[in-house]
């Protein structure tokens, strides 16, 4: 049997939007991932500790309330510091305030070290397929 890929998911910062997080858990499980859901109100350290203990292949961060850019600052650096340079970092939701040009937003998050950045209303099914591709490369 091929061992499952492990993904840590959660909602970062002081963000309580819980509905999307549950849907992501459900969809990723359907796609055969081993999902470790740390839920809402999670700090960078929570994501990182969870990824270490569970030997995660990817971390999927959600941010809905508009402060994602601040909450995600130095996430990549902190992952590298914790020995998680190989772990894929995705972010999605409503990651910035208001309607900004997404190309711009994507650029900024990629520069921060995120492998994939998703605009509001992204299809999580599509993201699941992309994740599988990224991990099986």
């Amino acid at each position: 049997m091929v061992s499952l890929h492990t993904v840590v998911i959660g909602v970062i910062g002081a963000d309580v939007h819980a509905v999307g997080n549950k849907i992501i858990e459900h969809v990723l499980k359907e796609h055969g991932f081993n999902v470790v859901n740390i839920g809402v109100l999670s700090s960078q350290e929570d994501f990182i500790s969870a990824a270490i203990e569970t030997d995660a292949d990817a971390i999927l961060i959600s941010s809905l309330y508009g402060h994602g850019e601040m909450d995600c600052k130095y996430m990549k650096e902190n992952c590298v510091e914790a020995g998680l340079s190989h772990v894929k970092l995705y972010v999605g939701g409503n990651i910035v305030v208001g309607k900004q040009d997404f190309k711009d937003v994507e650029q900024r998050f990629k520069k921060m070290g995120f492998d994939r950045v998703y605009p509001p209303g992204s299809d999580i099914e599509e993201a699941a397929r992309q994740l599988k591709e990224d991990l099986e490369q």
């Binding site: 492990t6 910062g13 002081a14 969870a50 270490i52 203990e53 569970t54 030997d55």
Partner: protein, 465 residues
């Protein structure tokens, strides 16, 4: 008449409690110095003689159960991956089994840690790391390092189950005593320590007792069934939960100030009591024990006093009006206690000094045991995160152990655990009732509970005052 004798081989005293099983009452208690260095039975026999002399018509002793914390008790090292997760889970398993945790290591063991393990006087190593299906690499690395180190200490492996077979192969090659049991943290933040605790106890009974020269006692007492702190924790849990239709006391704290350490046990979920507070961190054990190795009134007196400034010390020291403990007096008093660990205070000043030391122990051990609220300033205003247990609504605080029981004002010591205005973020008891284990029977009742939980509960309720 049938008398059940409960024996606690303590580090200083061997304590006996005789229970009349038919009349459902405590016949008497007695104690004598523990004699592990010569023959542990000497102390036992002396205590028994005293008991029989004081209660000549006690009746025949038909059964005996014993626990022990003599010869340093049970010492362990806990190893995990992330400090706040599997390393913490491993540590809690050790503490719950009644051990003193000498070392806690996280991540990969290196030469430095192995050296520390070699130098430490440790009875068992508990090796964890990774959730089930999670990280295998670290626990494997650590198992290899431990195998190479040839420590001659039993190893309990309680980590990622996926790594079990390989660890088995590594350890079996080296003629090491080891046990592979359920993961202490099978899922993220989920604590599961029962299997590990069970093996700890089995190793304690089968081997450690022997190494420490206590095995001999078994000729008289039958099997020594657990470390004393575990017996106390059992008694606390029984008293809290009740038994069948007999109601318990609900959530409670048991605190034991000793010469070398201070133990705190809490029974209760400790979930946040205010809706806006969010719980963080590893799952808390319902029956939780912590031990502070630097908080004690004799062996640890020096370490203890160094925790507080001279100014702070005065807050704990009360000896008549306007009396202060000056630097010189503190120094002398500490020295006396460290050199003579069975020193008994012989003047008002010395008694007040002991009272002050015990108060510091109670206060500091509570700070370290109790849950804390942390304020996080977010774009959306302040958020409150709780780590550890909320004990604000605890109903009973119970004091046990020689120091507390024999103190001038034991309740004054216990009151140190309550809510303090300068420690606002600590979730300490606000309105608890304070009780003292006057007969010093908590451990004995924890033992008795194995056989007769109903009676043990009845006697606890009757004698805690």
């Amino acid at each position: 008449m049938s008398v059940h004798l409960l024996v606690d081989f303590g580090s200083t005293y061997t304590k006996l409690t005789a229970v009349d099983m038919k009349k459902e009452r405590i016949v008497g208690t007695s104690r004598a110095m523990t004699t592990v260095k010569t023959d542990v039975l000497e102390g036992f026999n002396q205590a028994l003689e005293k008991l029989e002399k004081a209660h000549p018509r006690m009746g025949e002793i038909t059964t005996v159960s014993a626990c022990s914390s003599a010869a340093g008790g049970l010492k362990m090292a806990a190893i995990g991956l992330v400090e706040e997760l599997t390393a913490e889970a491993a540590k809690r398993a050790c503490l719950g089994a009644g051990a003193l945790v000498e070392h806690v290591f996280s991540h990969h063991l290196g030469k430095k840690e192995i050296k520390q393990l070699k130098q430490a006087d440790i009875d068992i190593i508990l090796l964890a790391g990774g959730t089930d299906g999670g990280n295998q690499e670290c626990i494997l690395h650590n198992a290899r390092k431990l195998a190479e180190a040839k420590l001659d200490v039993p190893i309990i492996v309680a980590g990622n189950k996926d790594a079990a077979d390989e660890i088995d192969a590594v350890l079996s090659e080296k003629n090491i005593e080891y046990y592979i049991v359920d993961n202490v943290m099978p899922k993220l933040k989920q604590l599961q320590v029962e299997a590990a605790k069970k093996v700890i106890r089995r190793i304690f009974i089968n081997k450690i007792i022997e190494g420490k020269g206590i095995k001999k006692a078994e000729e008289k007492t039958g099997e020594i069934i657990m470390p004393t702190p575990e017996a106390v924790l059992n008694a606390a849990e029984l008293l809290s939960k009740g038994h069948e239709d007999m109601e318990g006391f609900g959530d409670l704290i048991v605190i034991d100030v000793g010469g070398a350490t201070t133990d705190v046990h809490t029974i209760g979920q400790g979930v946040p009591k205010r809706a806006e507070v969010i719980l963080k961190g590893l799952q808390e054990p319902f029956a939780k024990r912590t031990v502070e190795g630097d908080l004690g009134v004799r062996h640890s007196a020096n370490a203890l006093v160094s925790l507080v400034s001279e100014y702070e010390f005065q807050k704990y020291y009360e000896n008549g009006e306007d009396e202060r403990a000056d630097e010189e007096m503190i120094e002398d008093a500490v020295k006396r206690r460290q050199e003579e660990v069975d020193y008994l205070p012989d003047s008002d000043e010395e008694k007040a000094f002991d009272q002050a030391l015990a108060r510091i122990c109670a206060d500091y051990s509570m700070s370290r045991h109790v849950g804390q609220v942390e304020v996080v300033y977010t774009p959306l205003g302040n958020m409150y995160y709780q780590t550890g247990k909320d004990l604000t609504e605890i109903e009973y605080v119970i004091g046990t152990g020689g120091v507390l029981i024999n103190a001038e004002d034991p309740k004054g010591i216990l009151e140190e655990v309550q809510h303090k205005s300068d420690k606002k973020l600590e979730l300490r008891p606000r309105d608890a009732e304070y009780l003292i284990d006057e007969l010093y029977i908590m451990a004995a009742m924890g033992l008795l509970a194995q056989k007769a939980p109903r009676l043990a509960l009845k006697l606890l309720k009757r004698h805690l005052k």
